[in-house]
């Protein structure tokens, strides 16, 4: 590393930095090709009836919050599903590829967003933040790209996948 990076503490006044950590990793189209390279996809959205919802909740032990599920049928067999989970700190859109036999092929996070501190919702406050950062020696971006910090658990996705496997049994397996 270069010498200008030698340690100095640089307090930046009036700069509270809420973690505006939000990344889009993949669009639906990109996720489809990341999980099933070279395949084609036919939209096959599912709207659950109350009995199906109940069956999924019973089988998975996870609450079903939405009736509609975004599903695609994959050429040559298999399913591609886009789903969302909300945790205390995070809002995540992810894709799950299922093999023709219903087993999980791959999971990709498509969109990851952490809840902001209250201030960040205020656009004028945000503008001020952007202005301030241009003077910072780090040239901080508006968005945070990399965070070091203790682990945020992926339990909500684990639960989501459990729910989707039950969804497969109830709504896709025989279709």
């Amino acid at each position: 590393m270069k010498s200008e990076l030698a340690f100095i503490a640089l307090p930046i006044s009036a700069l509270v930095a809420p973690s505006t950590f939000a990344v889009q990793y993949l669009t639906v189209d990109q996720a489809q090709h990341a999980v099933f390279p070279g395949k084609s996809f036919t939209a096959a959205p599912v709207k659950l009836v109350p009995a199906q919802r109940k069956a999924i909740e019973q089988a998975s032990g996870v609450r079903v919050l939405r009736d509609d599920q975004k599903v695609w049928r994959v050429s040559g067999g298999g399913w591609f599903i886009v789903d969302e989970v909300v945790g205390k700190h995070e809002f995540i859109t992810y894709a799950v590829g299922l093999n023709a036999n219903g087993s999980v092929k791959q999971i990709e996070v498509m969109d990851y967003r952490e809840t902001y501190g209250g201030e960040i919702r205020n656009e004028s406050w945000r503008a001020q933040f952007v202005g301030k950062t241009s003077q910072s020696p780090l040239k901080l971006d508006r968005d945070i790209k990399n965070i070091s910090g203790a682990t945020l658990s992926c339990r909500h996705i684990t639960d989501g996948v459990k729910r989707l496997l039950a969804f497969y049994e109830v709504a896709l397996k025989r279709s």
């Binding site: 990076l5 945070i144 070091s148 203790a150």
Partner: protein, 303 residues
């Protein structure tokens, strides 16, 4: 597709109980995709070998069978054990992979049918030639304090082996930056984890941060966390965080636990590894900083 334009590909998967993000930069999208694929495969392999939860992992096999007879583990597992034992010796047991029985009793790991000897410690773990491991007493190990860092190092090695020249791997906050592009890394606020306390610019370096903010919970009327002092068995409860920068992520990961417990007394060990440390108090103010080399990243404090 090859272009002259520098592109970055960034992917994220739920792995190791957290989110693992792999990013690579270059001019060839297909080669970046291959590298990222290989990086995730390496992380998956570390998970398969070192998961506490998977009954077929090396860790589960050791917990079941390394007492009373030695067993053979994968060279990667052996390498992590070797490093863990070194840190245990150097920290006089503050870093101890045999504290898993305490983690299980506090609800951080599933209780298993293992019946560990309550007096057993890292001193009862013996590493023999040819990746053989022997426990002198029945004990339960967990590599959660070091395997994530190792997984990051393996992922970086896989990216490099696939020809990716520059990138970053971040496993739930333990990360490593490699190649010609430096990265700004924000550090979470110790008490308000959805805020950043500050930032550093990293190049060719790993950084790990330990804090209790997402993991702290109540147990028998007291706060507990999965950060334990192996000597005293006490949980870290304060909402502080420890960040360590080092060449290898496995080293940075393990050192955060030692600095958490020993603070200034960890200076010698940090120096040995040319590592830097930063302790942030509850209000995010740095209370101790250790700079071992001219590689020390510049810390920008937000207030």
């Amino acid at each position: 597709m090859r272009t002259n334009r520098q592109i970055e590909i960034r992917r994220c998967r739920p792995m190791l109980g957290t989110f693992v993000e792999v990013a690579g930069s270059g001019t060839n999208a297909a080669s970046l995709e291959r590298g990222i694929h290989a990086a995730f495969a390496a992380v998956e392999k570390v998970n398969r070998l070192m998961s506490f939860h998977d009954p077929d992992s090396d860790v589960s096999r050791m917990n079941r069978d390394a007492f009373p007879k030695s067993i053979i583990v994968h060279p990667w597992t052996w390498k992590v054990l070797e490093t863990a034992q070194y840190f245990a010796r150097e920290s006089h047991g503050v870093f101890d992979i045999a504290v898993a029985r305490l983690l299980a009793s506090r609800g951080y790991l599933p209780r298993r049918e293992y019946q560990p000897n309550n007096a057993a410690t890292w001193r009862d773990i013996f590493l023999r030639k040819n990746c053989r491991v022997f426990f002198r007493r029945q004990l339960v190990i967990d590599l959660g304090g070091i395997a994530k860092g190792f997984a990051v190092d393996r992922a970086v090695a896989a990216l490099k082996a696939s020809g990716v020249k520059t990138g970053i791997v971040n496993a739930g906050g333990d990360l490593r930056v490699f190649g010609s592009i430096s990265r700004i890394v924000h550090v979470r606020h110790p008490a308000k984890p959805t805020f950043a306390a500050g930032a550093v610019r990293l190049a060719e370096r790993a950084m790990a941060t330990s804090g209790v903010y997402f993991a702290r919970r109540r147990h028998l009327g007291q706060y507990v966390s999965p950060l334990l002092d192996g000597c005293t068995g006490r949980s870290a409860r304060e909402l502080i965080s420890v960040s360590v920068a080092a060449a290898e992520c496995m080293v940075a990961d393990a050192l955060t636990k030692i600095v958490f417990a020993l603070r200034e007394q960890a200076a010698g060990l940090l120096g040995q590894y040319r590592a830097d440390a930063l302790i942030l108090e509850r209000n995010a103010a740095p209370s101790w900083r250790f700079n071992s080399s001219c590689d020390t990243p510049e810390w920008t404090q937000f207030d």
